[in-house]
Amino acid sequence: MKIFSYSLCIVFILIQTINGLYEDQIGKFDWRQQYIGKVKHAIFDSTGKKIVVGTEENTLALLHAGTGKIEWRHLLGSNTKSKITSLFLLSNGKVASISNIPTIVRVFDVSSGILQWEAAVAKDIQPVLCKWAVSKRDIISVEINPSRSGYDLVLTEYSSIGGTENVASTTELPWFTLGTNCQLVFPHLVCLHPQEDAVNIVDVRNSDSHQRIELQHLGITVGADQLVTLGVTKNFVSLRTTGTFSLYKITDEGLQRTSAEWPSETVLVSVPTVKDAEAQDQYMAALIKREKNYAVKIYDLEANQVLEDVSGDMKLPDHAGEPDLLSTFLMRKPNGELSYRYAISTTDDSLHYGSKKEVYWTREEALTSIVQVEMVDLPVSSIEASIEEEFGSDQALGGILGHTIKRLSSQFRQLLIVTQQLLAGQISLVRREAVGNNNKALERDRFGLHKLILILTRPGKLFAMDTLSGRIVWQRLLKNVNIDKVRLYVQRTSIHYPLEPQCTILAKSSTSNQAVLFVFHPITGEPAQFGSEGYVNLDYSVQQALLLPQNEETEYMKPLLLLDESAAPHVFPPTESAINHVVKMSNNLFMFVADTKSCVLRGYSLAKSTADHLASAAVWQLQLCSSSDSVEEEIVSIVSRHPEEKVFSQGRVLADRSVLYKYLNPNMVVVATAGTNHPHHRGYLNLYLIDVVSGAVVFSTSHRRVQPPYHVVYAENWIIYAYYNEKYRRTELSSLELFEGQTQSNSTAFSSFSAPQPLVDRQAYIYPSHITAMKDTVSEQGMTAKHILLGLSNGWIQEMPRAFLDPRRPVVAAATPEMREEGIMPYLPELPIPAEAIINYNQTISNIKSIYVTPSSLESTALVFACGLDIFFTHVTPSRTFDVLNDDFEYGFIALVLTGLTLASFITKRLAGKKSLRQAWK
C-alpha cells in the first residue's frame, strides 16, 4: 500500500514536471538544418541531376544537383578514426563506399539509399597501403602488407552484385619501400617514392609486369629539393612539380603523356561524367588559378585542344577558401553545344555547385565542426534608439524650450520610422506573425528572443545566424590564423547604445607561435578599428585569457586579460582606462592555468600590479595526476559556472522551516581527470572541486572501472557528471550537491580564504541511453527551475528536471513525510526517458557534439542551440511560460466575454429602469 502511494506520488510529480511541446508548436520557435560535413568525394551520376558525396564526417549522402538539398544521408559511423577512403559509382546504379578502421565495403542503391550488401574486412594489422578500384563487375582492393621477405601485394575482388569475396592473388613487391605513394588505376598500380626519380608500375594481376620508368623519360626534370607529387583522376595519373603539371594515361607499355599542355597554375583536374558512355574518357576538366578568380577549362583529349567556347571563368565569394576538390559533369544541350557543371569543395569546408554562368548554390559544411557559439543581443530598434538619443545623450541643450524641441523632433522621427515600417510591411497590425519570418529586421524584440548566433568553426570560418530563421546573416573566413585553438569573446554587447558592440577572437598565428586577435562588430561582421583590418598581431603567445567585468570607465567594454607564456599579464584593448580598471581590482584578481597533459594547475595573483606595470605572481600549484608509470592520466574537463548565472535562492527551506544554506563558491571549478591503469586496462575518473583563488581542493571523489565519454555540468551549488560504468555496462549520472549547513558563514560576500568546509550530498543514477553532450539551462535571474539537457546518441535531446538528479532523494524505506513536503521524490535507480521530454521530437540531430544555452530577457525562457552533424535551435521553458500568456490563449474568447458582459450590463440597466418606471406608475 505504501509503495503504491509512493508510486502514485511519483507519477504525479512526473506529470507535473514534464512539460512537453504541443503538436501545433512544431517549427514555431525551433528549426533544424541538416548538413553532411566537408565533402571529400563527389561524383555526378550519369544524368547529372544527382551528386553522390562522401564527407570527412563519415557521411555518405546523395545531393540534388539543382537545389543542393540532401536526398538521403547515412552516417556510416560515429567513430572519429573511421573515414570514407574511397567512393565509387557502379554501373548498375549503385554506389560503393569503403571505410577504414574497420575496413568495410558497403554498397547502397543510389536512388533509394538502401543498403544492398556490406562486407567487413576484419584486419589485425592495418596494411601499409590499401587502395580500391572498380572494374566492370567487381570492386577490387589492393593491399600492401609487410611480409618476411619484404612487402606483399594482396588482390581481393568483391562481386559488385552480391559482395562475394575472392582473394585473387598475392604478389611480392621487392621494390617497394615505406613512404611510397601509390595510386591504383586498375589494373595498374603506379607508385612513386618522394625521394626517387622513377615511377614504378605493376599490373596487379600479373606479378611479372613490373616496370620502372625514369622521370626523365616522362619529360620531367626534377631539381634538387623538388618534390614530385602523384595524383590520380579516374584513369589518369598526374605528376606535379613546383612549376609543371602533366597528365598521363596508363597503358600496358607504361605511361603515355597526354599531349595537351597544362599550365602550371592548374589546381585540380577531373574527368567529367558525360551523359553518353562512349565519350566517357574523351574530355578532361581543369581548374586553373588566375590572379583573382579561377578558370574552368575543358580539354578534348582526342583532338588535343582546349574547347575555349565551352570553358569559362569561376568566381568564388571572398569568404570561400582555396578549392581542394573538383568534380565535373559535361552535357550536350539540345543545340549540340557542350556545357559543364561543377561541384567544388573549398578549404573553408563549403561545397559550391555551378555552371559557366554562375554559382547556383553553396553548402556551408563548416557548420558541422563548430568550435564555439555565442548568442549576442541585437541592437535596439530605431524607435528605441531615438528615445535613447533623447534621454541618453549628455548634450546640454538645457531649458524648457530645448527639451521641448528635442522631444518634438524625436517624436517626429519616431512617427517617420513607424510610417516607414508600415509601408515596408514590417509591422503587422493584425497578429503577431509566426516565428521564422525571414524579412524581419535585425533588431531586438521585447523579450530578447531574437538574437544573433555567432558560430566559430574549425576551418576558421565565422558565421552569424538569425535565431528566428536560421538564416546566415554574414560569414567571414579568418586569414593567417592557426585554427587549432581559437576562442571567441564578447567584449561589449549591443545594450550600451550608442557604443558599438565588439567581439574578439583570440587565436594563434599560422606563421609563428604568437597570438593574433581579430576584433569585429558582431552584428555587421565588419572588422573593428584595430590593427590591420581588425587583426591585431601580439608579440607574445597567450596561455590564458579572461574577460573582466566592465564599468562606465571602460565604456562598458569588458577588458580581456591575457597571460603570456612567461605569465606576464596584458590587457586588451590596451587603453589607459582599461589598465586602470585592472589595476583597481588587481587585489582581488586571480587567474589559473591548467596543463591538461601534465595535470598541473597554477594559480596567479595580480596583486602586485601598478598602473605602469602589470605583474603576476604564482601563488599556488597543484599536481593532480598520479606520477606512476603504470597509469596514463590527463585532465578531461575543466568546468566553471556559467558566467551569467545568478543564484536566486541562497538556501533550501526544509520541512521544519529551517534553511539549508547552499555552498556558493564563485571561485570553484570542477576538474575531471581520467586515466587507465595499465596492468588491467581499467579506466578511472577523478573529480576535484578546486578553489582557484586559494588553490584548495574543496572536495574530491573517484570512480573506478569507468570509461569515457565523460560529461560534467556545474551550476549553483551542484555538479552532475556522466560516465560509462564498465563493470555494469551502463551509463551513470552522478550528482553532487554542496551545502554550508544550517548557518551561513558570511551572508554578504564569499571569501575563498575563510571559506567553510561544505557538506556534500551525493547519489548516482542509471541512465538508460548513451550521452554525447550535456548542458544545464540558464535563466536571467535564476528563479526558473534548472533542467539538464542531455544529447543522446540516437539524436534526441532530453530535457531532464534537476529534481530527478537531486542527491537528497531518499530510498523508499527512508523517505519521510517531511521529505515529501519538501517535494523530494523517493530514490529510483533508473532515470526515465519519456518521449514528451524530448525537445527536438522527431527532428533528430545526428552525432550531437555540444549544446549551448543562453538566457533570454524572459525569465522563463532559455535559448538552446545544439550542434553535431545537424544544427538545431529551440526555446526551453523549464518552469513553463509563467511570465507570458500561453500561445493558445484565446484572445477572441476573452474579448467576446467582455463585450458580452458590458452589453448585458447595459441591457439589464435599461430593463431595470423600465421596470422601476412601470412599478412607479402602478
Partner: protein, 228 residues
C-alpha cells in the same frame, strides 16, 4: 527448476552455434576474431505503407553508435564486431523498439537478452538472430485541451454572464406560477438581499443616510411584490 533453465540454455546454445558466422580471420593471425550480429526489424504494415522510406530513417546503433548497421531491402541488418557484449538498439524517430544486449564469447557463441540496467547480471533471453518487433509509437507531444461546449458553458466567465440573466429573466416568470410563488414567499428574503449587497457595502462605508435608504427600498420592494 534448475534443470529447465539448463535445458533452455542448451537449446539456445545450439541455435546460437548454427547462426554464428565467423567473418574472416586474417591469415591465421587470430588475435581478435570478428563476428556478425544479425537481425531483422519489423514495422507495422499500415504505418510502413504510409512511410515507404522508413528503412532509410531507421538506424541500428551498436553501443550507442560505436558501430552502425543499415537496413537492407528486406529490413534485415548485419554488423561485424569483435567478441564482447553489445547493446543493439534500433532507432526510428516514430516507433519504439526495445534494445537488446548481445553477448558474443571468444568462440563465437551468441546470446541475446533483454537489457536490465538495474540488475545487469539477470538473464532473460530473447531469440537470436534478433527480431525487433515494433512497440508503441512515440508520443512527443502533449494533447491540447479539446474545445468542448461544456467547457465554455461551465467556464467562470460564462457562468458570471448567464447566471444573473437567469436570475433576472427566469425567476420573475417562475413567480407567476402560484405554487412556486407561495414557496418563494417563504424564502424570498435572502433572494432579495442579493442585489442589495452593494448598497449594504456603501451603507457600511457611507454612513447612516444610506442605511436608512436601504431599509426603505427593501421595504418598498416587499410591498411591490405583495401588491402584485
Amino acid at each position: 527448476m534448475k534443470l529447465s533453465v539448463d535445458c533452455t540454455f542448451f537449446s539456445t546454445l545450439i541455435v546460437c552455434l548454427s547462426f554464428s558466422v565467423c567473418v574472416k580471420s586474417n591469415e591465421g593471425e587470430t588475435s581478435k576474431e570478428w563476428f556478425k550480429i544479425e537481425g531483422k526489424v519489423q514495422a507495422p504494415d499500415a504505418w510502413a505503407k504510409l512511410n515507404p522510406d522508413w528503412k532509410l530513417h531507421t538506424d541500428v546503433l551498436i553501443d550507442g553508435g560505436e558501430y552502425r548497421a543499415f537496413l537492407r531491402d528486406d529490413a534485415s541488418f548485419s554488423v561485424s564486431v569483435p567478441s564482447g557484449s553489445y547493446v543493439v538498439e534500433v532507432f526510428n524517430p516514430s516507433i519504439y523498439y526495445e534494445p537488446v544486449r548481445v553477448d558474443i564469447n571468444s568462440k563465437g557463441k551468441f546470446r541475446a537478452r533483454r537489457i536490465n540496467h538495474v540488475q545487469p547480471s539477470a538473464v532473460s533471453q530473447v531469440t537470436y538472430p534478433l527480431k525487433f518487433k515494433p512497440g508503441m509509437p512515440y508520443r512527443y507531444f502533449q494533447q491540447r485541451e479539446q474545445w468542448r461546449v461544456t467547457d465554455l458553458l461551465f467556464s467562470p466567465m460564462v457562468l458570471m454572464m448567464f447566471l444573473p440573466l437567469i436570475l433576472i429573466f427566469i425567476l420573475p416568470k417562475m413567480m407567476n406560477d402560484p405554487e412556486t410563488r407561495k414557496e418563494m414567499e417563504n424564502i424570498q428574503m435572502p433572494k432579495y438581499e442579493m442585489p442589495e449587497m452593494s448598497e449594504m457595502l456603501t451603507s457600511l462605508f457611507g454612513g447612516g443616510d444610506a442605511a436608512k435608504k436601504t431599509t426603505k427600498s427593501s421595504g418598498s420592494k416587499q410591498g411591490a411584490v405583495k401588491r402584485k
